[in-house]
Symmetry: C2
Subunit: 292 residues, 2 copies
């Protein structure tokens, strides 16, 4: 089964407990809207790829961990889109959750997704209970204080911030959780995968900043030009578009060189190359370079 | 050590990881503001009391579980007070989190507290890992979909709701989690404590509705009369003040009769009587009765 199929199936399964009889119907609809249809599912794909690279021995555990990571990502998007933050009206080419269901249900949907993420994590470790504590630690570090997603978002509320620390918390931390938890789901040590995950997160963030500048809303599925509009720190703003593109290429190469030695290293590098080209196509780089 | 001391110490310890170096300072301050100084800490007290009644054998585990329950309660208050919900300006006699720190940091503080609750839960089970899965299940059920706090809050967004289901989800579910998790922290079965927790939650909710009507803001630490002002379902509105007081007394008696057989049953009943009198003093009931 492809990663895509495994991830969608795991995500559907992860919401089954939440959608049992007795639930308030609008919040249930908001949860489904927040998770399906998804974006690129890059974080859970990473989790599965690392688990496989590390000799995965319990696919249902990796699937649950991947779902947990993606639920937390979806939760962060729902809260990020709220009127008090980005006030984004669209997400993945559809109305954002608060646009479709109102602000109150968007706050609650984010909360419910965070809880569901920990529920599925606990449930997935039935056969390998000893892996649960390290998985919980990686995942909470990726999303919580002091260095996870919520911290990254909170840096936006501070008068001064370091761009690198901000991006690391807002994006790198969950990428690191995705790679570390992938290894831990396979019973391997997560630490060797931390730096790789952080670098991948940085690479992704640079790509996202470039895409915000050069792609239009139709391709992005959300409004473009938001970093400037919202006065948000961005690599493209800090380095210029050329500088950001060069940085992206440098990071992709550096990432490829730091994949830990493991049985599935070659496949894993292929996945990174494919994703890099999907995010910032070579031809786009060439075209932009020719115009400057 | 008293329950109060244990709870405050456990809560301080539960925030230590979140407040490690590198955190965004305002979010850190918002977390502390949300948790300290606390209210009555009734839920974590219940957890400790049930753990002790069930023959507690790992006090640091019960402490961690109690902290986890209280962090989730604090998170729900912070999000509940947001402008899109109750827009409460005060809480526990001080500015609410969004009033003191702004709406964005209030959303993030709630999120960070939810994550911290699961972090401390995982960390507390070091010596008794086999208890972690059931504890995770009880706690996620108490706060998540379909029947936990977020569901209760979501019922406020529905055109029709059953008062009993709404109150059960909004209040009863976390009380049930508090009692069940107390038993599970002691290695006992949580199920016999579910109904008791739900009934205690109902009792507490009726008391809260009575207090909203008869006490002023100074005693409450938050604005009074909010149920009518916000058109929120309430026992005092549904049954009248007299009816609500009679229901409160009936529920307290019923709760006392359903404490499971266990070594600490008598102490546990004393705690319930003390809390009942603290919430709705007998003399208040008598005074109100004489005026109608």
């Amino acid at each position: 089964m492809s990663y895509d199929d495994r991830i969608e199936r795991a995500l559907r399964a992860s919401l089954v407990p939440a959608l049992q009889p007795g639930h308030p119907p609008q919040l249930a609809a908001a949860l489904q809207h927040a998770v399906f249809p998804g974006g690129a599912r890059i974080r859970p794909k990473l989790t599965l790829a690392v688990a496989q690279a590390c000799g995965e021995d319990d696919a249902s555990l990796s699937d649950g961990v991947a779902a947990s990571i993606e639920l937390l990502h979806c939760a962060s998007l729902v809260h990020d889109d709220l009127p008090c933050f980005d006030d984004a009206q669209t997400r993945r080419g559809r109305p954002s959750v608060h646009n479709a269901f109102g602000e109150r249900l968007a706050v609650l949907a984010g909360d419910a997704l965070i809880v569901a993420a920990f529920e599925v994590l606990g449930r997935s470790c039935r056969q390998h209970l000893s892996r649960l504590p390290v998985l919980l630690r990686s995942v909470t570090q990726g999303v919580g204080m002091p260095l996870g997603i919520v911290a990254g978002q909170a840096w936006e509320c501070e008068p001064q911030l370091s761009l690198a620390d901000y991006q690391q918390a807002k994006t790198g931390a969950l990428f690191a959780a995705a790679t570390m938890a992938g290894a831990q789901a396979a019973g391997a040590d997560g630490e060797p995968w931390r730096a790789l995950g952080e670098r991948l997160g940085q690479t992704y963030q640079v790509a996202d900043d470039i895409r915000d500048v050069v792609l239009d809303a139709e391709v992005l599925g959300k409004p473009g030009g938001q970093d400037v509009a919202l006065d948000r720190p961005s690599y493209a703003r800090a380095l210029g578009l050329d500088g950001a593109m060069a940085e992206f290429q440098r990071l992709v190469q550096a990432t490829l060189l730091t994949v830990p030695v493991c049985p599935g290293a070659s496949q894993f590098r292929q996945l990174i190359r494919r994703e890099a080209d999907r995010l910032v196509p070579q031809q786009l780089c060439a075209r932009m370079a020719s115009t400057v």
